[in-house]
Subunit: 208 residues, 6 copies
Amino acid sequence: MFKFLFLLAILILSSDAAVQDFCVADLKAPESPSGYSCKSVTNVTVDDFVFSGLSAAGNTASIIKAAVTPAFAAQFPGVNGLGISAARLDLAAEGVIPFHTHPGASEILLVVQGSITAGFVSSANSVYLKTLKKGDLMVFPQGLLHFQVSDAGYTSVGYVFFSSSNPGLQITDFALFANDLPTKLVGATTFLDEATIKKLKGVLGGTN
Amino acid sequence: MFKFLFLLAILILSSDAAVQDFCVADLKAPESPSGYSCKSVTNVTVDDFVFSGLSAAGNTASIIKAAVTPAFAAQFPGVNGLGISAARLDLAAEGVIPFHTHPGASEILLVVQGSITAGFVSSANSVYLKTLKKGDLMVFPQGLLHFQVSDAGYTSVGYVFFSSSNPGLQITDFALFANDLPTKLVGATTFLDEATIKKLKGVLGGTN
Amino acid sequence: MFKFLFLLAILILSSDAAVQDFCVADLKAPESPSGYSCKSVTNVTVDDFVFSGLSAAGNTASIIKAAVTPAFAAQFPGVNGLGISAARLDLAAEGVIPFHTHPGASEILLVVQGSITAGFVSSANSVYLKTLKKGDLMVFPQGLLHFQVSDAGYTSVGYVFFSSSNPGLQITDFALFANDLPTKLVGATTFLDEATIKKLKGVLGGTN
Amino acid sequence: MFKFLFLLAILILSSDAAVQDFCVADLKAPESPSGYSCKSVTNVTVDDFVFSGLSAAGNTASIIKAAVTPAFAAQFPGVNGLGISAARLDLAAEGVIPFHTHPGASEILLVVQGSITAGFVSSANSVYLKTLKKGDLMVFPQGLLHFQVSDAGYTSVGYVFFSSSNPGLQITDFALFANDLPTKLVGATTFLDEATIKKLKGVLGGTN
Amino acid sequence: MFKFLFLLAILILSSDAAVQDFCVADLKAPESPSGYSCKSVTNVTVDDFVFSGLSAAGNTASIIKAAVTPAFAAQFPGVNGLGISAARLDLAAEGVIPFHTHPGASEILLVVQGSITAGFVSSANSVYLKTLKKGDLMVFPQGLLHFQVSDAGYTSVGYVFFSSSNPGLQITDFALFANDLPTKLVGATTFLDEATIKKLKGVLGGTN
Amino acid sequence: MFKFLFLLAILILSSDAAVQDFCVADLKAPESPSGYSCKSVTNVTVDDFVFSGLSAAGNTASIIKAAVTPAFAAQFPGVNGLGISAARLDLAAEGVIPFHTHPGASEILLVVQGSITAGFVSSANSVYLKTLKKGDLMVFPQGLLHFQVSDAGYTSVGYVFFSSSNPGLQITDFALFANDLPTKLVGATTFLDEATIKKLKGVLGGTN
């Protein structure tokens, strides 16, 4: 028996050294194109693979009446490099997750409460629009513009899952109006008039 | 204005022809290593991207007191090639999703009801075990053995999401006992005794 | 010498059968998530790998004073599956390629004539903006909003190259205004007022 | 001639700086999801690309009568990031490599001595079983349970090659019985009875 | 018990339909950039995953005194899409596998008989050269020029494994001299003189 | 309004931390198989994404009458990890970019001046050869031998783009003759005679 245990210990030891079953993010070490550096396996615990930050509702007391709480690699280090991550959507009645894209991932939405009208637009400019009830799934292909709106009379909650541990998030309104892009350039590249742009820059904190 | 519309129509037409924003599965056409063939875009509707099959509870009236309902590319054609898919877990009190692996994907579990004790074992043979409440997430790295059990006194529901549209599912007990692998060979490769193997073959429908 | 030739012929024959150096698109056969089906090697000629469609200027006589001519897999079958493709940009003075994204690819712009001001916005909402002269390159990371404008007094020409043979192209204005998305929904998801939306729908051919 | 040499030297120098033909593992530097950090090219020698650790037989004097010797990136730094690695299997007569998976790789077995019965089980629970002689190859698709047994009367040797430089190795018996997973939980998730579990925990060094 | 079997049968049936554990090549169906189309799982047998074509020695009675026998997806359909394949090298004393590349894969060589001097050249033009004995491994990074030579006095056998099921094989001499590339063009692009080129074209069957 | 801005700021802040839209190369930090480490986003400016080093002609006053100027990740840090890079080709009349491969990338050539005859050879030893004029594109599949020659009477300029930020570059003549590979070994592996090898070693700076 001793020999058996000894041999298997050797075998396990060898393969252990070579193992990269996972790569829990060390948020303070350098990043590479494939994600964060890995925390030493010695310091990894089950809590790296568990995330409770999506169990509480986000604060919807804002003019969008909605909140997004991410569980990407930066918040949930266990997903680093595993090609998957999550976020929680809270929407008061008529709350809105405005048009946005995830540059690096496809998304599945699961509705767990309420009623959400969601849609995406393809490169061919077709609209795919549906009202979803509790338990419904909808998939949004990588990089395409999409949105979610809580239907009138419903407080809605959804969870979204991504095909990357770093999906990114680009909210169109923010990209256009919440930074220092010159109004004239925004106008030229969106066909919006100057007054509209200046108004939205005002609301969203943009300048120029 | 006519010229503008005309030009943009041309532009869109051209890019439209090249578009492969998504590849909704045509389940009757040939598969390739990258997944199912794509349904013609002309025939694609929003319903290809929406799946309601996980809104109803699975039937837990069995000895595992649990059910798994998949939304992989074969059930949910819109996810084909998008690197993501889903499934629903229903567990009566003390219901069990037995030890299993997904050969081609990592998994995130979201608990939406009850209390689930879940765990996985790494290549280095370490156990990562946690009791999860409603709203908790847990990630299971690709290919590793894992399980989920509903805690006593709780009827639990979870949704799982995968980093592939074809994650696969290999339940260890089924792989070992529910087919025609000769009892002697199962014994030699698992160290289980013949009586145990024959008993489990009996329960799970295996032969030889 | 005969044996030598014979043996090498065998060797080449064997490896030839296994070769997949390239996969020239057969545009009429089924697509898979990895791209178009491959044309039989027997029918492939050098002309599949050469594309002259970008040698002539596009027509800039439109209100955007610009044209985009794609050389994606649908136009240039030789690039199918090779992870690269191209397009030509023609811009009259003050011509504009409006804000857009490529859902599936990063892009490098090469300016070959004139002066182009180009920019992109990151997920963190930072603006990266530069005026480029002949011979300059600029890279636009995958999926991020970007635009190109020809500077006053310059007729400009650029070539863009993508890290995919099917990069996709989503022009934000088109996605928002050139289809049947209801005005109210566009308003809710963009914060634009109804009059602005209706005006742009009018210009771009949208309804509802 | 000087100019020629000079120019080409420049050219080579430039491209040299950009080269990442390989990434020999620096086992002491941080890992990323794509593998180990690269050793400086200056310190790389041919010995990083050569591995002699599989030339000697492993010790089969154990109850499994078998040994596995890995040549993964941790043992053979030259393979890091190249998508390939190896291991040697030594089996005395009736020696067994028990049921196991490689979470991150497909495997090809080459039999170089003896007679090996090998098999794998698919997600669909089908058994693919074959007795292999010297010179035979068998492929085991990624993540699926498989095993190898030396036939009675044969001392067998095999070499296995993987589609990853970090394939991982999860031996089912070890995952279930050689750690501190509570006996009750193992029972619930495997349908094995407590006595069987406790016996195997005893043999394999498990607790609880 | 009936319910249990019934439920699990459902579960397995569902997941079975979604399974793509492997994609055995259907050599007569269309190829995609990801490989051959998949044979129907119903028609797959263990023999698709086993290949005996490398058990016999290749014929080394030629001027290179060597033979290469491939087990790529075209010969060994079970490896299609699994990211791995193999070949056998037979070399009489001083037999040579001439300088060549695999455009799409890294390679590991296992020497099983004799003594082989192998080498590769990096993009930085460094030579990595080693004499290998039985049991030694050497890795050749993707796309780089490499060769194998059997040492004087040794009949050598090696097996090579690739990180792709379609690695490709481009023998430099063949690419330069065994086709209809005009002698003048070969001269201009290799700096070889016309006489040398014509001689090698003669030996290798080239024209022009 | 304050609440709205506050909430969105939180949202952006959270997602910002998780963002990996790009990974500008930090050339002094460790490399991984996926490329260079990322420079801190705080230090990234638009100039990391712009490269002017290809705007000037390379020096063609050499016996190849040609120059290659790379814009790979080492020269153009913004492309790191984005799967794309570039280079400029300058060719005097009858200038030659000799036979070479890029081990890790496919290439598209854009001719911007003159007339270039370009070709590649497949694994099946077929030649794909074409004379290209200004505005023509030609694609060279990954890892295959190819060349470019400026036609008599034309000073030619081309830009090439790659499907990797680290395509590598292996010039066949350099790999064979510009290092210390023993003449005898070069002879054995190329079928060239000793005098030819020694002459080319002399020209290209090789020894042995």
